[in-house]
């Protein structure tokens, strides 16, 4: 079968399943007795097995198969989940992730890296088999001749159906049907089986699902459960009249020998009409529960991010045109045009919002890999960690999701390694033995705030000071004058680490500067709050949208510049005589504090206009960043405008003082001032 077109779908789904597997393993580690999650895990392995089988990825297939076997035994209480089992399953998960990554990049699984694991899984399974011979059963699909697998696994839905059928005294049969090996049209033959059965029965369960069977995604055998008023013999006769069936086994079942699988309404069966007619009340409630689930699943569409980018670009173009129309309108002053432009404004704004929303994804996508990471790290470091995550449903732009992971990993590793103390130190300091790591996300106006907080020892500012002096960043005397807050900023210097010894986890000094660069690249900022012995908190503030922002347009000599509005605290005027020089730098006393003054024309080397009216009053745009503030002298304010941020391109990358460019209403290009870089 030509499968290349399914690669993307396969990879997306496989990743989703692996993530789920990860989550469940973490839960199981805490609650080894949790059967529901075990079943879920089993189902995921099973789905992965099926998927990879179809795509011809045999290593994944083999590995998931063995995982299934192992879990099947756990499920049947042959042995219980302990730490070693979870570790083993985690290892399997890692290998599966590796395979999926390989498939994503090269479309092949790469080398076989799971042989040892498979052996280990097999030993475990066989080991317990010897003590319990019943466990020799594997999953349904794989036992072609073995007849029925050990137990009938049904989800909650099927189970309730069976119960209801029992109450009504219907017969419930479990059918195991194998097609003849030479059967050419398997799905057609299966269809005949279904249609024959449906004359007298309601099919409530099918493994593989009916859809899979229709698509011929099954070997030769399938398992069904039916509710009927007819007897076993009658059903058997009917089935035996169908040709090309190798084996038909019928077994009567009742609700007691059904294991709950709890997997939602996987096969998409509706409540059988038989039951519905008789027991309106009960079945309706069951139906109500099921339907919203189904509806929700049907409403999402996977869209290539490139198409969204394209859409976003078009919206940007539209906004530029809108601005141009507004400009034109200001010249004509015609009423009818002003109405139209206003309407256009409203529509473009909602369109922009809508497109932005489409691009938004819950930050969960980034957060969900952290529990595992924290688990592994805490084991490695011998520290006990409680990870608390809140606000996972906070939505951020897709581009942010892709970029924010690494900085967060850095901060978490830092917190675990440097922040949180060894368990005995903690006990000595009357803290909980287990350290607390809090990961919080919440929207804040046009920003998204992500906080990484630990209750560890906090940042040792004395150590930072000593290190800063040692590294020659400040002099001894300068350090005396600096506040703790300023000192902490040194942590963001390249190559700055206060760790005494380098560990695998952190301490190499290539950390926080990278974090800061990355965050600033995304248009955000990082702050640190720290209290000795109470812990530290890293606050990341990111703009909701990266592409379109509000900006203040200003004139500097003959040039126009845009200053992002979110950095502007206020706008004021100052008189020439107010400006004082301190150490060669201009400052003014503004609202009882000294405000450094920068002249935009100087920073950007703007060529002076020849005939310039001399004024002794300056317009100052006050920029603030965290707790640092400065005033930017401009010549004239033009106004506030929605601007589309465009990159200057690879060729002009990294120009000091410039964050990008935008296209104004008249089609000319205006540069966006990078206020961050002016400090």
């Amino acid at each position: 079968m030509e499968t290349s077109q399914y690669f993307d779908v396969f990879i997306d789904e496989a990743k989703e399943h692996l993530q789920k597997m990860n989550d469940i393993l973490l839960i199981l580690e805490k609650n080894p007795k949790d059967k529901q999650h075990l079943h879920e895990l089993f189902r995921i392995a099973h789905t992965l097995k099926g998927m990879s089988g179809t795509m011809g990825f045999n290593y994944v297939l083999q590995l998931t198969h063995e995982m299934e076997n192992l879990m099947d035994q756990v499920r049947n209480d042959i042995f219980s989940i302990d730490e070693s089992v979870v570790d083993l399953l985690f290892e399997c998960l890692d290998k599966l992730e590796q395979y999926v990554m390989n498939i994503e990049s090269d479309q092949t699984e790469g080398d076989n890296i799971s042989d040892n694991l498979i052996q280990e899984l097999k030993t475990r399974v066989n080991g317990s088999e010897n003590s319990n011979p019943i466990a020799n059963e594997t999953t349904q699909q794989d036992t072609n001749e073995g007849g029925f697998p050990s137990a009938f696994n049904a989800d909650e839905y099927v189970r309730s159906m069976i119960k209801k059928a029992e109450d009504k005294d219907y017969n419930i049969f479990r059918l195991y049907i194998c097609l003849n090996e030479k059967c050419m049209l398997k799905s057609a033959r299966a269809y005949i089986v279904f249609s024959t059965l449906e004359q007298n029965c309601e099919i409530i369960y099918s493994d593989p699902s009916i859809e899979d069977i229709e698509d011929e995604k099954f070997d030769l055998c399938f398992e069904l459960a039916v509710i009927t008023q007819h007897s076993e013999v009658e059903i058997s006769q009917q089935l035996n009249s169908i040709s090309e069936l190798d084996a038909v086994e019928i077994e009567s079942i009742n609700s007691k020998n059904v294991i709950t699988k709890d997997e939602g309404e996987k096969d998409g069966f509706s409540t059988p009409a038989l039951l519905e007619m008789d027991s309106n009340e009960t079945s309706n409630s069951a139906k109500d529960e099921d339907q919203p689930k189904k509806a929700r699943a049907g409403k999402t569409v996977r869209v290539d991010i490139e198409r969204l980018d394209n859409l976003m670009n078009l919206v940007s173009e539209l906004i530029i045109i809108k601005t141009r129309l507004e400009d034109a309108h200001q010249m004509t002053q015609e009423k009818s045009i002003s109405d139209t432009t206003e309407q256009l404004e409203r529509i473009t704004t909602s369109l922009h919002d809508a497109v932005m929303k489409v691009r938004m994804v819950p930050i969960e996508r980034v957060f969900n890999r952290f529990p595992r990471m924290v688990r592994d790290l805490s084991k490695e470091l011998g520290k006990e960690i409680n990870l608390i995550m809140t606000g996972e449903d906070t939505e951020v732009d897709r581009t942010v999701i892709d970029e924010i992971g690494d900085p967060l990993i850095h901060l978490i590793r830092n917190a675990l390694d440097h922040g949180i103390e060894e368990p005995d130190t903690r006990i000595r300091n009357h803290k909980d033995k287990a350290g607390k790591l809090k990961l919080t996300a919440f929207p804040d106006g046009n920003n998204v705030v992500i906080e990484v907080e630990d209750d560890g020892k906090g940042i040792d500012t004395e150590k930072v000071k000593a290190k800063a002096i040692a590294n020659g960043l400040i002099s001894e005397s300068q350090s005396q004058l600096m506040e703790d807050k300023e000192l902490i900023q040194f942590l963001f210097h390249p190559g700055f680490s206060t760790a005494d010894k380098i560990s695998d986890v952190s301490g190499r000094g290539v950390g926080l500067d990278v974090v800061q660069t990355k965050i600033e690249h995304l248009g955000g900022e990082v702050e640190i709050e720290s209290q000795p012995d109470k812990g530290s908190r890293f606050i990341i503030r990111l703009p909701l949208t990266l592409a379109i922002i509000q900006a203040l347009l200003v004139n500097v000599e003959s040039e126009k510049y845009a200053i992002p509005l979110n950095n502007i605290r206020e706008i004021s005027t100052i008189k020439e005589e107010q400006i004082r020089k301190v150490q060669g730098k201009e400052v003014v006393l503004f609202r009882q504090s000294t405000l450094p003054i920068l002249r935009l024309s100087g920073i950007l080397n703007v060529p002076p206009l020849e005939e310039k009216t001399q004024t002794d009053e300056y317009t100052v745009v006050i920029i603030s960043h965290g707790d640092r503030t400065f005033g930017l002298v401009v010549d004239e304010l033009i106004g506030q405008q929605e601007i589309v941020i465009k990159s200057l391109g690879k060729y002009l990358n990294g120009i000091r003082g410039i964050a990008g460019a935008t296209i104004l209403g008249n089609g000319t290009v205006s540069l966006i001032v990078d206020t961050n870089s002016l400090f």
Partner: protein, 154 residues
């Protein structure tokens, strides 16, 4: 001066020809996106002095290089004849400002000479060779060298 035959099976190469201070120059046509009239150019502070600025090319921001400055030729003002040739090199779009540009020439590979030491007009590193078409001498430019791409990447 030595004439070096390039490849035997190589026949023709197409070049976009432009003028800059009395000389004709050529760039390989496969790098050329489009030739534009000069529109409003926005100066970019803190960039190389030969970067003239950026233009709005149908919604894209494209940097423009002043080739006269790049080659240390005397400045001249922008006229109606001036053209910006938009090039795409290694996924990067850059425009070069030229005095005029109006033709595309086929130059047989056999008619392209290595420069040796004949030229003192422009930076030698940016010259790929000299193409001869009839009586004309066309200076063929090495785009990568002009844009300093090699420096940036290696």
């Amino acid at each position: 001066m030595s004439i070096q035959e390039q490849k035997i099976n190589a026949d023709m190469d197409q070049f976009v020809i432009f003028r800059l201070d009395q000389e004709s120059y050529g760039v390989p046509i496969n790098y050329v996106e489009i030739i534009e009239k000069v529109t409003a150019i926005t100066r970019v502070p803190n960039s190389s002095d030969y970067v003239l600025g950026v233009i709005n090319l149908r919604g894209e921001i494209v940097p423009v290089i002043d080739l006269r400055k790049r080659f240390n030729l005397p400045d001249s003002s922008i006229t109606d004849e001036s053209r910006i040739i938009i090039l795409t090199v290694d996924y990067m779009t850059v425009g070069i400002l030229t005095d005029s540009s109006s033709e595309v020439l086929n130059i047989p590979k056999s008619q392209i000479e290595n420069t040796g030491t004949v030229l003192s007009i422009v930076d030698e590193a940016s010259i790929e060779g000299i193409g001869k078409v009839d009586d004309r001498m066309i200076i063929l430019l090495d785009i990568h060298a002009i844009l300093d791409i090699n420096n940036a990447e290696s």
